[in-house]
């Protein structure tokens, strides 16, 4: 049974059907890329998995549990981590506080602080800036913080929405390298990425969304070689 499964999902957003009849899955330990043009429904799909919007039809399940009746917080407790587009770190709060908030679902504050220390070890740049206001970090540092924040809850599935957007190439490589490392430690990844080449280089499988509908999907290697994908996304 796949870790994440969407079957026949419709999502309406502000009166518009943003996603229609979408079925996809992410297996244990996989990296799966979700590709598509702007407005294809990628972020909306992630929002529905996280419970921020509700599908009007279809079923979403994580680890076999139907997510329909669960609050976003309950979905986090169930093992979904979501690093939203634009990083959305908590400005005005320190780096350390941002990380601690990633562990809000844990009641034990000491355990949270242990995990914060572990993430700081993984991402030393955050350790250096622990006491700094998160809003003063560079874009790349904010991205690392947003990922670190999501890791504190030890998600089984990590969803990343455009994690390299706006980053310098070197920083983008660092971020994608981190994603790979996280995956190797056993976390499944659903990766929404504008840079299709990099995403398909990292992922085992990929799905292409176009205007809310599922288009091509399959092996990352096959998609990379597909002429239609090359024309549309790899240029």
């Amino acid at each position: 049974m796949p870790l994440l499964e969407l079957s026949g999902v419709d999502i309406s957003y502000g009166g518009v059907r943003a996603v229609r009849d979408l079925s996809l899955h992410v297996g244990d330990g996989e990296i799966v890329a979700l590709l598509g043009a702007n407005g294809a429904g990628k972020s909306t799909t992630l929002a529905a998995i996280s419970g921020l919007v509700r599908p009007s039809a279809g079923r979403i399940s994580l680890g076999g549990t139907d997510l329909a009746a669960l609050s976003p917080a309950a979905i986090v407790r169930l093992g979904a981590g979501h690093v939203p587009e634009g990083r959305r770190v908590f400005g005005g709060l320190t780096v350390r506080e941002n990380l601690q908030l990633g562990g809000y679902v844990l009641a034990d504050e000491r355990e949270v602080n242990r995990r914060v220390a572990a993430v700081c070890e993984l991402l030393p740049v955050l350790a250096e800036r622990r006491a700094q206001n998160a809003a003063t970090l560079s874009g790349g540092e904010q991205q690392l913080l947003a990922i670190g924040r999501a890791l504190i809850a030890r998600p089984r599935l990590l969803m990343l929405d455009e994690p390299t957007m706006g980053l310098a190439p070197r920083m983008a490589r660092t971020v994608l390298g981190l994603v790979k490392e996280i995956n190797q430690q056993g976390t499944s990844v659903l990766l929404v990425e504008q840079n299709a080449r990099a995403a398909l280089g990292l992922a085992q499988r990929g799905y292409v969304l176009s205007r809310g509908r599922l288009g091509l999907h399959g092996d990352a290697a096959g998609l990379r070689a597909d002429r239609r994908v090359i024309e549309a996304y790899l240029g």
Binding site: L52, R77, P84, F90, L101, E109
Partner: protein, 295 residues
Amino acid sequence: MSQLIWNGLFTGSFYALVALGYSMVYGIIRLLNFAHGDVYMLGAFIGYYCLTLLSGVTSGLPALLIVLVVAMLATGLAGVGIERLAYRPLRQAPRLAVLITAVGVSFSLEYGVRLIAGADPKVYPVRLDGQPVELLGARLTAEQLVLVAVAFVLMGALHTLVMRTRAGRAMRAIAADPKAAHLSGIEVGQVIARVFFLGSALAGAAGVMAGAYYGRIEFLMGFVIGLKAFTAAVIGGIGNLPGAMLGGLALGLLESFGTGLTGGEWRDVFAFGCLIVFLVARPQGILGEKAVVRM
């Protein structure tokens, strides 16, 4: 001179207590809760009835402190109820709808209390007119000193809670980015309810203190103080808690000096003149930054 400072600090600490709730609620759900002043009035009335009940048992300052705690709990719960019934169903609605609802809640509280307690002003069954002592040229009573101290302790406790605890961290996170707060596993609705509890409890405390200080309460007493607290929150920087405390105290002092110079009938002119000056010259307030740090 020092009498003016003392009077200003005293009323300023009421303003600050009420302004804190105003500012917290604005910070977390961007709502100007126009019913907040009426929660203060509710606190004063709950205090009135509790004091009347207690009158045979104990009186004076001890009674007042017990009643303060009871009134804080009751108004805190009332705040949670108001949020639950009136604001939560409108979480996705346009902001204007919520604002108008807040005005509706304000009227409901005012005329609800009028229905139960009547329209006539009530004499508060406890007064803080013990032996006045001279302190640095100001005449004040020990009871007044204790109440101001209690107000400052409450403000300090709130500040610690918001800045140092897990719950406070969650409040600041929601103020900064509600969507990211959801994704971090914060039960946003629950935290908002807590904010209403705290803000309303502080307003309730201020209501009891004001009843004891002025000696007279009536069902419309929350209206002007609501506007004053709003003014204080704007002066300090709305959404900013130290700003709300500072704004409340500053407003109290300004009013006190203003009336000292020109007479009591000019008091509100000073307060709302300040509001206009700030809105024109520094709309983000003393401590507010332009949409960066909230709460």
